[in-house]
């Protein structure tokens, strides 16, 4: 489209958000549309900015965990894990094995919960109202389990530097096994309802496609990157906790379109179940907390730690000046990076596709804005 033409045709400037049912939080997209076609899009973020990174500098290490709980508020355990691991790495703490297994189980369950939420809201974005309710029904089982373990449904504050707060309740294994059976059935039901529905296929196949190179250039990670065919997963490529002892596949797709991203996440849920199963079998008895001083004081230094969040590669760069509070905390949020190629994905698509594309990259605004 030439500039002269642009002056002639009347483009509508549509403000999608900050309060819009499909923006998954407070996020604003300014769309320039020509009829139903999107000519250009400009994302505006920051409506949920709480200054988490700066707040971290004024809090002790134990308190930081609560802040990380609130970054990606759908995958809390995964977030706690990364900050705990950062401090542990700096301090050179060896985490007891049982604690590592507990962490992995909870993280993987949290990944399922997060992907279930994605599944539900994605259905909602595509206009189907039932998946969200089915997904929440399944997610509720996981949340109940979390409540039994950590005492909270979302903001757990359960992982500690050097282990976990408390050992899991005695009936934990039994409960997890029961939930896993239910989850598997629920996920299969979700599959029947949405995955191959013709309308859903036509809404998502070939929409918002991005190729591997561009995706890497934009810094995509996690399912969004694997949907383009790049088999990058921190759990495999830079194993942490006990992931190197577990057998699991990393689903990889090819086209990088919305349906691929969706399908990948659904497959990841099955893989997570597989991981949890193995962890339950391998989990040893023993302490769940390393012997540490009560107030963590990592030595002077800096460290970068990254983990596979449900949304991708979540990294934390931690600088310590030897005091009880960190000198600087920098988060590399996967959702924020997933938002980067938004213009690339949305230019030329329909208004309705915008919603589907934004849903498919699965952002959490708490993490984008921090």
């Amino acid at each position: 489209m030439t500039t002269e033409k642009q002056q002639e045709t009347v483009e509508l400037l549509l403000n999608m958000g900050p309060q819009h049912p499909a923006t998954h939080g407070v996020f604003r997209m300014v769309l320039w549309i020509d009829g139903e076609r999107v000519v250009d899009v400009e994302p505006h973020i920051g409506y949920l900015h709480r200054g988490s990174e700066k707040l971290c500098e004024g809090e002790s290490y134990a308190q930081i965990v609560t802040l990380f709980d609130r970054l990606d508020y759908i995958a809390n355990f995964n977030n706690e894990l990364v900050v705990c691991r950062a401090a542990e790495k700096l301090m050179g703490v060896e985490v007891p094995e049982r604690a590592q297994y507990i962490r992995v189980i909870l993280c993987e369950l949290n990944r399922i919960a997060s992907h279930l939420l994605f599944y539900g809201t994605y259905g909602l974005d595509a206009g189907a109202m039932t998946p969200v309710l089915y997904a929440f029904r399944e997610r509720e089982r996981i949340q109940n389990l979390f409540e039994a373990v950590s005492g909270a449904r979302m903001m757990h504050n359960f992982f500690r530097i050097g282990g976990v707060n408390e050992d899991v309740p005695p009936d934990f294994g039994q409960r997890v096994r029961r939930i896993m059976g239910e989850l598997r059935r629920g996920m299969e039901e979700c599959d029947r309802l949405l995955s191959f529905n013709e309308i859903f296929l036509s809404r998502t196949r070939g929409i918002g496609a991005i190729d591997a190179e561009t995706a890497i250039d934009y810094g995509l990670t996690g399912p969004n990157l694997r949907a383009c065919g790049v088999p990058y997963d921190v759990r495999k490529d830079d194993p942490y906790e006990v992931y190197d002892r577990l057998e699991f596949d990393v689903p990889v797709a090819e086209h990088g379109d919305c349906w691929d991203r969706y399908w990948l996440r659904v497959q990841e849920m099955y893989q997570s179940l597989h991981i949890v199963e193995q962890c339950l079998e391998q989990m040893p008895e023993g302490p769940v907390m390393a012997q540490l001083r009560r107030i963590a004081r990592p030595p002077k230094g800096e460290v970068f730690v990254h983990c596979e969040n449900p949304r991708g590669d979540l990294g934390v760069y931690l600088v310590s000046d030897g005091g009880p509070k960190p000198y600087r905390v920098k988060v590399r949020p996967p959702s924020f990076c997933s938002l980067m190629p938004l213009k690339h994905l949305m230019r030329g698509c329909y208004v309705a596709d915008c919603v589907v594309i934004l849903g498919s990259i699965d952002i959490v605004l708490g993490e984008v804005d921090r």
Partner: protein, 166 residues
């Protein structure tokens, strides 16, 4: 009774027509047109031409007006100042007057001047039968014209489209 209704409908029709011409807001004009067309449909009903009335409502009331509105909404942001100061207005006036005179003349020359009665209402079946037998050629020609118009419209739209998006 019938006369009262007729005058009412005629008034509605005329008012609508006036509205189309007078108003400066294009959307109002389209809606006034709808009003006028509905009035005409009512007059058809008075003449016991039910089918015609319904066709009038269906085609003009529903489809045509909506398409006009559709077009207007797409071009909404343009300014319409100066539409009334068209340099061609004398020509338009001439054409309108001529048309009016022709219609009046036609009415005066060849007017059946009979009272419309219910027995004159054409049964629906008969209408359909004659349309497809006696007037089949005219019917087909009309549909052909529409088809050509349709294809032309598509070609015009496509051409512009391809120019815009190479």
């Amino acid at each position: 009774m019938t006369l009262v209704v007729f005058y009412l409908l005629a008034a509605v029709t005329l008012l609508g027509a006036m509205g189309v011409v007078v108003t400066r807001n294009v959307v109002y004009a389209a809606l006034a047109l709808l009003l006028s067309l509905m009035g005409v449909a009512g007059i058809y009903l008075l003449l016991f031409a039910e089918f015609l009335a319904l066709v009038q409502v269906l085609i003009y009331g529903g489809a045509i007006t909506v398409v006009i509105l559709f077009a207007i909404m797409l071009t909404r942001l343009r300014e319409y100042k100066g539409v009334m100061e068209n340099p061609q207005w004398p020509l338009g006036l001439l054409a309108a007057t001529a048309l009016f005179l022709v219609l009046v003349a036609a009415f005066l020359v060849d007017s059946p001047r009979m009272n419309v009665e219910e027995r004159l209402a054409v049964p629906f079946l008969l209408l359909g039968g004659s349309l497809f037998s006696q007037w089949a050629i005219a019917f087909e020609v009309a549909s052909l014209v529409l088809l050509v118009a349709l294809i032309g419209a598509i070609i015009v739209a496509r051409g512009e489209d391809s120019r815009e998006r190479p």
